[in-house]
Amino acid sequence: MILVLEAAVLGVLTGGVYALMASGLTLIFGVMRIINVGHGALVVLGAYLSFVLWRNLNIDPFVSLVVTMPVMFVLGVILQVVFIRPLKADREALSVLVTYALALGIEGLLGFFFTSNYVQITAWYDTASFPIGNFRITYVYIYGFLLCLAILGAIFLMLYRTTFGGAIRATMLNRTAAQLVGIDVDRVSAVAFGIGMATAAAGGVVFGITNTFNPGSHYDLISRLLTIIVLGGLGSLRGAIIAALIMLVIEDITAVLISPVWADFVFFVVLVVVLLVRPQGLFGLRVRERL
């Protein structure tokens, strides 16, 4: 029982990190109607940026976000303008090809600079832990979870308390109507892509501390992230967060109760079951609730 409880707590904490990564992906889908299959590669890129700052300049991985998040935001704006904006017709299908090419390009560049050897970011808090009842929690999971809460809170504040946030929500809900009230949807799209990449940087640093990774680590990551946003309802931030927590808790409990081998499998079984019962996902289009 204690093991299950421990797995559930760990699932929630890890789920927070996945929620952050998935929120960027679903925000990009919501605003632009594109499926960014390169998002996993962007998370890995974020992890490598923090890795470089930690290894070469001895900068704490969490502190490195002060640099990597703005850098990734600007890079996201540039990528959107260069690769996504030119897609006018059949955006959803073409975006899969373009962003897959982007992922391969990033993987190739990272492979060139870092080889395919696995690396990991280390810090004192990735092994240090503190007791909660009869089990111990590693500090990095708490710090990662708090980071995700702070960033997701900031994103929600921006979306619901600022005029530009209102423009992002409006674009997600009805792109044509947003244009007709004067919202510059191209600008909104570029900023949304930048925000998505900044969240990838933040998710990447926690991913890089809690996992060994190499340039090809994005394949497993993107399959999980896509599962989460489909389960939550495409374009729904709230859905992505809840789905991430549910999936990671189920995965961790399965690993404890049955076997770690089955944990990944259960992840996708849950997806199939939910889609059979509720094809639009938890917070999908039927109720028109995307945020």
């Binding site: 929500r169 409006a170 044509t176 109507a177 007709l180 004067g182 028109r288």
Partner: protein, 238 residues
């Protein structure tokens, strides 16, 4: 009355070919111009060109004598041309108040936005009464009224309404047309596209009949409405 919007030899379409095949049309300041015609006549395409959502392949679009054919939707909006599209265009999971406020998204003067919000709330009581409710919770007619309110937040020089009565029951349709007439009485210039020819031409100062991408007839609204030939061909039992 002075010409506000002038279309000359307008040709436009999508990938599959031209839909508008040489439109000549003038909308005068203070008028309520209503365009009617069967499905596929090109009415909505014409409005998309005026709003900047579709670029013409030939011809000119002039607004207050300035060519606007190449301008972006936002630039056209900034010149005072606001369109309420045919399909429901409120943002469903935003409140009525948020929706109306977004109508003034391009206005930077916060005081002006607040004054217009207050004025729109007076003109359309439903905006104030249902301000905190989600737009999706309103009926079709109520949503249309809120769309009008949102459009007026920019104090438009030309307000374009694309088939505002579509999908509404007869009673709600009457309310919507009364509201359109009131906006015109208040001094707004309106360009209305309407399937329901009798209701549209009945309140119009100027009527236009389109067919297959061309203007077939135009004149004062009641005259167009009473033209027996046009009535038989295009208006049917509407």
């Amino acid at each position: 009355m002075a010409a506000l919007l002038e279309l000359e030899g307008l040709v436009a379409g999508y990938g599959g070919g031209d839909i508008l095949l040489g439109i000549d049309l003038t909308v005068e300041e203070g008028s309520l111009t209503c365009i009617v015609g069967p499905n596929g006549a090109g009415k909505s395409t014409l409005l998309r060109v005026v709003s900047g959502l579709l670029k013409p392949t030939r011809g000119s679009v002039r607004f207050r004598r300035e060519s606007i054919a190449a301008l972006s939707p936002r630039a056209i909006l900034n010149r005072g041309i606001v369109q309420v599209p045919q399909e429901r265009s409120l943002f469903p999971t935003m409140t009525v108040w948020e929706n109306v406020r977004l109508g003034a998204y391009t206005v930077r003067d916060r005081g002006l936005v607040e004054r217009r919000l207050a004025a729109v709330g007076e003109t359309f009581p439903i905006v104030k009464e249902r301000r905190n409710e989600l737009a999706a919770s309103l009926s079709g007619g109520q949503q249309k009224i809120v769309e009008f309110a949102r459009a007026l937040m920019l104090d438009p020089t030309l307000l374009i309404l694309d088939e505002p009565s579509m999908g509404l029951d007869p009673k709600t349709r009457t309310t919507v047309f009364n509201t359109i007439r009131s906006m015109n009485d208040a001094g707004h210039t309106l360009l209305l596209v309407e399937q329901n020819a009798r209701s549209g031409l009945g309140i119009a100062t100027h009527g236009v009949v389109m067919e297959s991408g061309r203007v077939r007839l135009q004149g004062p609204g009641p005259e167009v409405l009473s033209n027996p030939e046009i009535g038989r061909l295009y208006l049917g039992a509407a």
